[in-house]
């Protein structure tokens, strides 16, 4: 890429050529090649089923493969014996929260076990344990059984156990999925620290595209193939284009007009976001204006495209090149829903205890008809419990609520008849066809006779399932299954829709299709939508957000307002590009800037007084002989908001 390596020039640590892995007939990875340089953090990004895990396992020497060559530390991994030789020098953490750990053992016992497994002597062990546990802030919980740790802590313990023999190469399979933002930030901190102190090389996979900036180099994977490869900036450069943000009234009309021309148009809260591959930022606004003739357009501006835009553009290109026709644009019925604007869901001080443990603590919020309301939080934050209480399948310990005009404490059955629900795991019948599933749920919800065929036809159009109606669900890809789940939840025409992490593991195009439908439901049919997610980027689409942490709502506002509040309270995020980055980071830390963090080759930090701080940074880096490339003010991400609110809450609790 023409960039100097981060640490020192050396032959690649890992070299993969034309890697092929098949599971019986199923192709998992189809011809992947990559090279990982010593001392870098290499990313594999892609949705479930992209082939990330297979590739990582092969590099870790725990999976046999069908074709190509894998070389680790210059050693060809072509036999059990070869794999055994490199295993000593690497650490591998499989996917799933703490799946490689023993739930009954304590934190310390788990670490000791892995140390023994790896032949680490008692003195070295004591020394490393001390350091790693302190780094992960787990030292206070040494005696606690692993099963009683939170998701984020489990993941950090997994990391400690993987690092206890000081491997030169660490392979981490989706270490941040479903983990709370603070633990996630800790996790990246530890990783970059290891890289700085010991020059460790890391191969990390993730399903979150917004983590791409953390990597030095990455491969975007989909369905067993590498779509794009290189440094994040370089991948962005592969798909030149313009990204516009605007507001337009009425939004859905504008969305449909733009979608017809620019498939990468999406609604983000009140705004529209249009990515136009190949267009120049100068002419793009004019083109968009022309399409929106007669609508009220405001706040039209050009912004920097993100990796997700590039990824989706690449996907579209790939599909067109493969002769695949794009899915037809939704042809939605423009039926007029009743224009009620009342409160659809109200939760007042909901609490739920499991034994001694309070899973949900005084949660209150309101969702109006036509609003998309997001509950954002890590696994175990209490999101699903809130939904279970509101849908009437779990009685609350305290508090009250109403859904679709029915009291949740007394009229659970009425609520069940009036709402639609899409659950976390795919929970339809895979051994039935699309049509059979729809019929079943229509009849369960009391849709019968003449109305049955009509209702099914309506949701088939809405979810774009016409081509798959007679297929068995087990043969459908994830994205279409989730649309079927949505169709089943909508078949009786509910006015309130609950979605519990509906897009986990779905590829980005599938996710956008799914959101297109949700936007239509909310804007045109005025359905109230309550959705939970742990994708920060997805949360941006919601009209209103409640951030949940440890059973509580710690912030509750529109995404834009949450970010503005953060900027006012904590300052602006500055992104600093400098060479060499590690020296810059050290200088900034010593100068006392608040929490500078390494993102790939760039550094993020919070500036209370952006203008003054920018000047300080320039002076400081010049003085240290570090070459400053640029300083860019960034809009804070929702993750920034989340981390700030959690830490603030923790500080308040400590003070109290």
């Amino acid at each position: 890429m023409g960039q100097p390596p981060l640490v020192d020039p050396a032959p690649p640590l890992v070299r993969v050529r034309d890697f092929v892995k098949r599971y019986r007939q199923q192709m998992a990875v189809d011809g992947a090649s990559l090279e990982i340089a010593p001392g870098e953090i290499y990313g594999l990004i892609g949705p479930d089923g992209a082939g990330k895990s297979s590739l990582m396992k092969a590099i870790a020497g725990v999976l046999a493969y069908e074709g190509g060559a894998v070389q680790v530390f210059g050693q060809d991994i072509d036999s059990e014996a070869a794999a055994e030789r490199v295993k000593v020098r690497l650490g591998f953490m499989p996917q799933g929260l703490g799946l490689n750990l023993y739930p009954e053992l304590s934190v310390e016992e788990n670490v000791n076990f892995f140390a023994e497994l790896r032949d680490v002597g008692p003195e070295l062990l004591a020394q490393r344990k001390q350091k790693l546990l302190a780094m992960t802030r787990l030292d206070k919980f040494r005696a606690r059984p692993m099963k009683q740790l939170s998701g984020g802590m489990k993941q950090k313990l997994g990391l400690v156990c993987t690092l206890i023999h000081e491997p030169e190469l660490i392979i981490l399979d989706e270490p941040t999925t479903g983990v709370d933002p603070v633990s996630r930030r800790d996790f990246w901190l530890i990783l970059t620290q290891l890289l700085r102190e010991r020059g460790v090389t890391a191969l990390v996979s993730t399903a979150y595209l917004d983590e791409a900036a953390r990597f030095h180099h990455l491969s975007l994977m989909l369905a067993g193939k590498v779509l794009a490869q290189g440094a994040p900036e370089a991948i962005l450069g592969q798909v030149p284009g313009a990204l516009l943000e605007l507001r337009a009234e009425p939004q859905v009309e504008a969305l449909n007009r733009l979608l017809a021309e620019f498939p990468q148009t999406e609604a983000v809260g009140p705004k529209l976001r249009v990515f136009m591959p190949g267009a120049s930022p100068q002419t793009a606004p004019g083109e968009v204006q022309a399409r929106l003739d007669g609508l009220r357009v405001t706040d039209l501006r050009s912004v920097t495209p993100e990796l997700e835009d590039a990824f989706i553009a690449l996907l579209h290109q790939r599909r067109q090149a493969g002769g695949e026709t794009a899915e037809p644009l939704p042809d939605w019925p423009a039926n007029q829903a009743p224009q009620d604007e009342g409160v659809a869901i109200a939760a007042r001080e909901l609490c739920r205890d499991f034994g001694q443990f309070r899973a949900v603590d005084q949660v209150s919020f309101q969702v109006r008809q036509g609003e998309i309301f997001g509950l954002l939080g890590a696994n175990g934050a209490g999101k699903t419990t809130v939904i279970k209480m509101l849908t009437g399948i779990m009685p609350p310990t305290g508090g009250e609520g109403s859904v679709a005009g029915a009291d949740m404490r007394r009229a659970g059955q009425a609520i069940k008849e009036r709402i639609g629900y899409v659950s976390q795991a795919f929970s339809l019948y895979q051994d039935l066809t699309v049509q059979e599933n729809l019929r079943l749920f229509a009849r369960i919800y009391g849709v019968r006779g003449d109305r049955l065929a009509e209702a099914i036809a309506r949701v088939v159009v809405l979810a774009g399932l016409a081509a798959q109606a007679e297929q068995l669900v087990s043969r459908l890809p994830m994205g279409i299954r989730q649309r079927l789940a949505l169709a089943c939840a909508l078949v009786h025409g509910p006015r309130v829709l609950f979605l519990d992490e509906p897009t986990s593991g779905v590829d980005p195009i599938g996710r956008r299709r799914f959101w297109d439908i949700l936007i239509h439901l909310a804007r045109v049919e005025r359905v109230a939508v309550l959705i939970t997610t742990h994708y920060m980027s997805e949360a941006e689409h919601c009209d209103h957000l409640a951030l949940m942490h440890a059973g509580r709502v710690i912030a509750d506002d529109s995404p834009a307002a949450l970010k503005t509040a953060l900027e006012q309270e904590a300052g602006q995020v500055l992104e600093i590009a400098a060479e060499p980055p590690l020296a810059a980071l050290e200088a900034l830390e010593q100068a006392g800037f608040s929490d500078p963090a390494l993102f790939g080759r760039r550094i993020h930090l919070l500036a209370r007084d952006p203008a003054r701080d920018q000047a300080r940074i320039r002076d400081l880096l010049a003085e240290r002989g570090v070459r400053l490339l640029e300083i860019t003010p960034l809009t804070p991400s929702l993750e920034d908001v989340f981390v700030h609110r959690i830490l603030e809450r923790e500080r308040q609790e400590k003070a109290a």
Partner: protein, 389 residues
């Protein structure tokens, strides 16, 4: 005016419609599960057929003789051990060789005839013969030794009568008791009538435990239960549909087994009302399914459920009366039999199929099964509902 009754009716209607939709779903799913279908066909048809070939009778048991006499009489005695019960395995030269054959399982019985057997008989002296039997299989051992006693006794009395000069004509003057027994219900005492019925009822039990438990656990395993719980379905509806669908399958299997195997191959008479038999089977299936659903509530996956089904099945079979009648059980276990639904089912199954018994005879068993069924099924429903609270 007429509104309240019509809404009540429509709600009832809706309730049934939901039940029907779910039952159809269960049947479609079962129809697509080839492995399960194969298991059902295998158990109802082939397994029952194989059971009809299992015999608890003495059949071609090998008898060897250690004949120290080598006389006409000793040979005649030996040749009275004939087919189909026995098979002559020839002569061994010494007693130890006979024991060795018993040890190895190459012979079931050794007949030891002493020297001078014939001479002593002719003299009118009492003579002993020795019979050694391998009773490691108690049933066969018992049968072999009692048949041997009969054969030897008959031989002895024939010899005695001959020596007394009793002829066919003068036999009438000898005080003899003639055994004139009549065997009811299974006149030829064929195991091929008894065993397949017993096996069929066992298969019904396995299926009634396993199918609803598997269907319920599968919903849990695949997470589909969540979607059902948020729907207007009540837990009772979810549970009932599984029992109804699986009962339909079991009744079809039972019908096929009765027609093809019991009637078609083994010509079991089917004396009583088949309608009554199917009614009883339905009641029994519901009862046992309640137990199966209870199992599904305490297991997390199919493997656990299967283990528990086996755990429940074994005592049910022992306490069923098929292997040991209640009179022969110690008193504690005898009481336990009255809470085993299979006991009533077997009682009624044999009663209807072989004895042609009707309700006038079987009402007490039916009442017992019905009461037990209600208790078990209600317990199952209660637990099934409670697991989601």
């Amino acid at each position: 005016m007429t509104r309240p009754p019509s809404t009540l009716n429509s709600r009832l209607d809706l309730w049934w419609s939901r039940l029907a939709a779910m039952t159809v779903k269960e049947l479609i799913q079962l129809g697509r599960d080839t492995l399960l279908l194969a298991a059902i066909v295998y158990l109802f048809i082939f397994d029952v057929y194989m059971a009809g070939n299992v015999s608890m009778q003495l059949n071609h048991a090998v008898v060897v003789t250690h004949d120290a006499d080598h006389s006409e009489s000793s040979r005649e005695l030996y040749y009275r051990f004939h087919a189909p019960y026995f098979k002559l395995g020839g002569e061994v030269l010494d007693a130890r060789e006979g024991l060795r054959l018993l040890d190895r399982g190459q012979a079931l019985m050794v007949l030891d005839v002493p020297p001078d057997f014939e001479r002593d008989l002719k003299k009118g002296k009492a003579v002993d013969v020795q019979v050694q039997v391998d009773a490691s299989n108690t049933v066969l051992g018992f049968l072999a030794s009692s048949y041997a006693a009969q054969i030897i006794g008959q031989f002895g009395s024939d010899q005695a009568l001959e020596r007394l000069g009793v002829t066919e004509r003068t036999l009438q003057n000898v005080p003899l008791i003639q055994d004139q027994h009549r065997v009811w219900y299974n006149p030829n005492q064929q195991d091929s009538w008894f065993m397949p019925i017993s096996e069929l009822l066992t298969v019904v039990t396995i299926m009634a435990l396993m199918l609803p438990a598997a269907a319920a656990v599968r919903e849990k395993e695949r997470g589909t239960i969540e979607q059902l719980l948020v729907s207007p379905l009540t837990p009772i509806q979810i549970m009932l549909t599984k029992v109804i669908a699986m009962t339909v399958v079991i009744l079809l299997g039972t019908g096929a087994s009765l027609l093809l195997v019991l009637h078609g191959i083994f010509a079991v008479p089917m004396k009583g009302s088949l309608l009554l038999f199917f009614a009883v089977t339905t009641l029994y299936t519901f009862t046992t399914a309640g137990l199966g659903l209870y199992i599904s509530t305490i297991s997390r996956n199919l493997a656990q459920a299967t283990m528990l089904v086996i755990l429940v099945l074994m005592p049910m079979l022992f306490l069923s009366g098929a292997w040991t009648p209640p009179e022969a059980m110690p008193s504690g276990l005898r009481l336990a039999m009255y809470v085993s639904p299979l006991y009533y089912f077997i009682e009624m199954g044999y009663g209807i199929l072989l004895k042609g018994a009707g309700l006038e005879v079987l009402w007490d068993s039916l009442l017992g099964l019905a009461l037990l069924g209600m208790a078990i099924f209600s317990f199952g429903v209660w637990r099934f509902e409670r697991q989601f609270k």
